[in-house]
């Protein structure tokens, strides 16, 4: 049943549409969201490294090899499993991360990857990152130690990928790897 639309109804509809416009327009932008205080910056840590293989490669038994078809004979048998990578990060001597990063893959034979995002107060900060990729073997420990200045709302990334790289600013990539 069609109802005749009166002026009152038109005004009512306009009021509804105005309310809808204000509601959508407002919450599409406002209120602002504060993700990080203006006085802070961020330090992003990226670990992308394969731990050392666990165990030694061994020579197979020659007799057993002879029994195998030619295409299945191998000169060495090597383990697949890799060591977890332990990561210790300190900011101004305060330990903020101490983690053993497991290798990826069903056989633990993949890369150890870790991403962390730390909020830091702007200013000078002393970064100490110690990475070990061979089940705590001290000969496989890599250390990065440096004091940097993080500006307000600056994002700095420190990556360990067969060596340390610090990304600060748009184009500066600074490599500094120390193995002890």
């Amino acid at each position: 049943m069609a109802k005749k639309i009166s002026i009152k109804m038109i005004l009512g509809q306009m009021l509804f549409y105005l309310g809808l416009m204000i509601f959508i327009g407002y919450f599409a932008e406002v209120p602002e969201f504060e993700y990080l205080p203006d006085t802070h910056g961020e330090l992003k840590l990226i670990i992308r490294h394969s731990g050392k293989l666990i165990g030694e490669c061994t020579r197979p038994d020659p007799e057993a090899q002879q029994k195998l078809p030619r295409n299945m004979r191998v000169p060495m048998i090597c383990p697949r499993e890799r060591s977890p990578v332990t990561v210790r990060l300190s900011l101004d001597d305060r330990l903020v991360l101490d983690k053993s990063v497991l290798p990826a893959g069903l056989h633990n034979d993949g890369i150890s990857a870790e991403y962390r995002n730390f909020r830091v107060e702007a200013g000078k900060v002393r970064i100490t990152l110690v990475v070990n990729d061979s089940q705590g073997d001290q000969n496989s420990t890599y250390t990065y130690e440096r004091e940097i200045t993080i500006n307000p709302s600056e994002s700095v990334a420190l990556e360990f990928n067969n060596g340390f790289t610090l990304y600060q600013g748009k184009n500066s990539a600074d490599t500094n790897a120390t193995s002890s």
Binding site: M9, M21, H40, S153, Y167, N171
Partner: protein
């Protein structure tokens, strides 16, 4: 606040809107259709934006700047419409879901539509949030990093996704090709999901009334001109995002990821999703026995098949009458509304009483019982001019209107009433008026009950009232849940007409006595 008062609040809001809109334009009655409408606005505006969009790190932001600034009269408006219609989609979807929940339209035959609607929520958010990435401004940077951290929690890749946004050198142009592919693919999946969502709804309403569509369209256009959508500064991964203008429709749970971490937010979202999916199975409601076909009395006319709003009836060859068809009820889809029984031509009380059987019936609320109840109640009336009010279980409560000259009968749906009953009551039981009430206009609980009844009364659909005289004595008032005042007013109007008729008759008797 109990469910009855929530329902009352909803119907009051709907009635307020009914004062401003013709009922067929009422936005709350067209929420599903408005969702479709918003989707199409987003699609058309998005296609235009796609022409000028460049899929590269610098090109993405720059092309959006070109669209917004240099081409503000077309691209700028299209971009704003794209954003605001997407936001409106979230508003309408949320209201649609809440309304169906309040009206308990998620159980029984509606379970399929309800459950199939749940994944659409995820797709809608994925499509909307993905759109914000494409602009590659500071907001996009925040969303990209937070989303990556959010997905990294479930370890879906060997390397964390967040690596890609850790510093400027990790991002590549190809990322934007992937993004645009997703931003087209996800909405396509959403469209397919929307189609599945309404698949079991016969005559589904996927277009809003023209007047409402024009109104909403103009409102969004005006908003786009007054407050155009703009980009923030270009994303720079060597800078941190501090504060930003936020789209709370799509990003409302993002601050929780930053505050609580990804794990609890995953848990919260999955728990919310599981609750929605399980709702129809946990609150099944009191399901009444579904309609049953009596092959002896089914003549295969197909009127019940045509009228069922849930596609719960199909036709097949008759069990034993050669060359005839027979209705079959699909129990899973039947909600026991009784509309089929009201459509059955066999359900006529004019038959010899022993043969009075309907071809299709609700076992718990048989048409025959309805007639017996009506006649029993009529027997007790002492008033002169009798009125019968038929209503429905989801409309105005009628008990209070029963008195010495009025009886009230409530049905599962007003369209369960066979029109021949009205003929019968007026002709055989000498009822002065029949008042049909039910759900509010354009807001029938069983979707089409009011419309079907109106068409049957007005001789536009089979079965229908046989004579104009009976039609004149039949009044329809779609008063809805809170329509007590309207029913009372209509009843008072009918009674005053009766009184006027009586006094005219008395005057005529006096005149004839005087003249004799």
């Amino acid at each position: 606040m109990n469910s009855r008062s929530i329902l009352k609040a909803l119907t009051t809001t709907e009635q307020i809107l009914n004062k401003a809109f013709p009922t067929s334009w009422n936005p709350l009655y067209s929420l599903g259709a408005l969702c479709f409408y918003m989707f199409w606005i987003v699609t058309v505006s998005g296609l235009y934006l796609f022409i000028f969009f460049q899929t590269s790190i610098d090109g993405a932001w720059q092309s959006m700047e070109y669209i917004t600034e240099d081409q503000w009269y077309a691209g700028g408006i299209a971009r704003s419409l794209h954003r605001y219609a997407s936001d409106a989609l979230v508003v309408f979807v949320t209201l649609h879901m809440i309304r169906e929940l309040i009206l308990k339209r998620f159980q029984g035959a509606r379970t399929f539509s309800w459950v199939s609607g749940v994944p659409l929520l995820w797709l809608m958010f994925a499509a909307g949030i993905g759109g914000y990435w494409l602009v590659w401004d500071e907001r996009a940077q925040y969303i990209a990093i937070t989303t990556a951290e959010f997905f990294d929690w479930i370890n879906i890749s060997t390397e964390p996704l967040a690596f890609g946004f850790a510093h400027p050198e990790t991002l590549s142009d190809r990322f934007f090709s992937l993004l645009i592919f997703l931003h087209i693919g996800v909405p396509l999946a959403l469209l397919l999901g929307m189609f599945i969502h309404i698949m079991r709804v016969s005559d589904s309403k996927s277009n809003p009334a023209k007047g409402l569509a024009i109104g909403i369209g103009l409102a969004l256009l005006a908003l786009s001109i007054i407050w155009p959508a703009e980009s923030l500064d270009q994303a720079d991964l060597s800078r941190s995002i501090t504060r930003l203008g936020f789209d709370w429709f799509y990003l409302n749970f993002y601050p929780l990821i930053n505050r609580w971490g990804a794990g609890p937010v995953w848990l919260m979202l999955l728990a919310f999703t599981a609750t929605l999916v399980l709702l129809p199975f946990v609150f099944e409601g009191d399901k009444e026995a579904v309609a049953e076909v009596d092959p002896d009395f089914c003549n295969g006319c197909g009127w019940c098949y045509a009228d069922c709003p849930y596609d719960a009836i199909i036709m097949k060859d008759h069990d034993y009458k050669k060359g005839m068809r027979q209705a079959v009820v699909l129990g899973d889809q039947c909600v026991s509304c009784g509309i089929c029984a009201g459509a059955c031509p066999s359900a006529t009380p004019f038959k010899t009483i022993n043969l009075f059987h309907s071809g299709i019936n609700l076992p718990d609320r048989k048409i025959r019982t309805l007639l017996d109840d009506t006649r029993e109640k009529l027997f007790d009336l002492t008033g002169k001019e009798k009125i019968v009010i038929f209503g429905c279980d989801h409309g105005t409560r009628l008990d209070a209107f029963a008195d010495d000259s009025t009886i009230t009968i409530s049905l599962p749906c007003i369209a369960q009433l066979p029109p021949s009953y009205i003929d019968f009551l007026v002709k055989r039981e000498h009822i002065a008026d029949v008042l049909l009430t039910g759900c509010a206009e354009d807001n029938c609980f069983h979707r089409t009950g009011n419309d079907l009844m109106e068409q049957r009364v007005n001789n536009l659909r089979n079965p229908h009232i046989k004579t104009a005289a009976v039609r004149q004595k039949t009044t329809m008032l779609w008063s809805g849940l809170s329509g007590e005042k309207e029913v009372a007013a209509k009843l008072a109007e009918l009674r005053s007409e009766h009184r006027a008729r009586e006094s005219n008759q008395e005057d005529r008797v006096e005149l004839s006595e005087e003249s004799s």
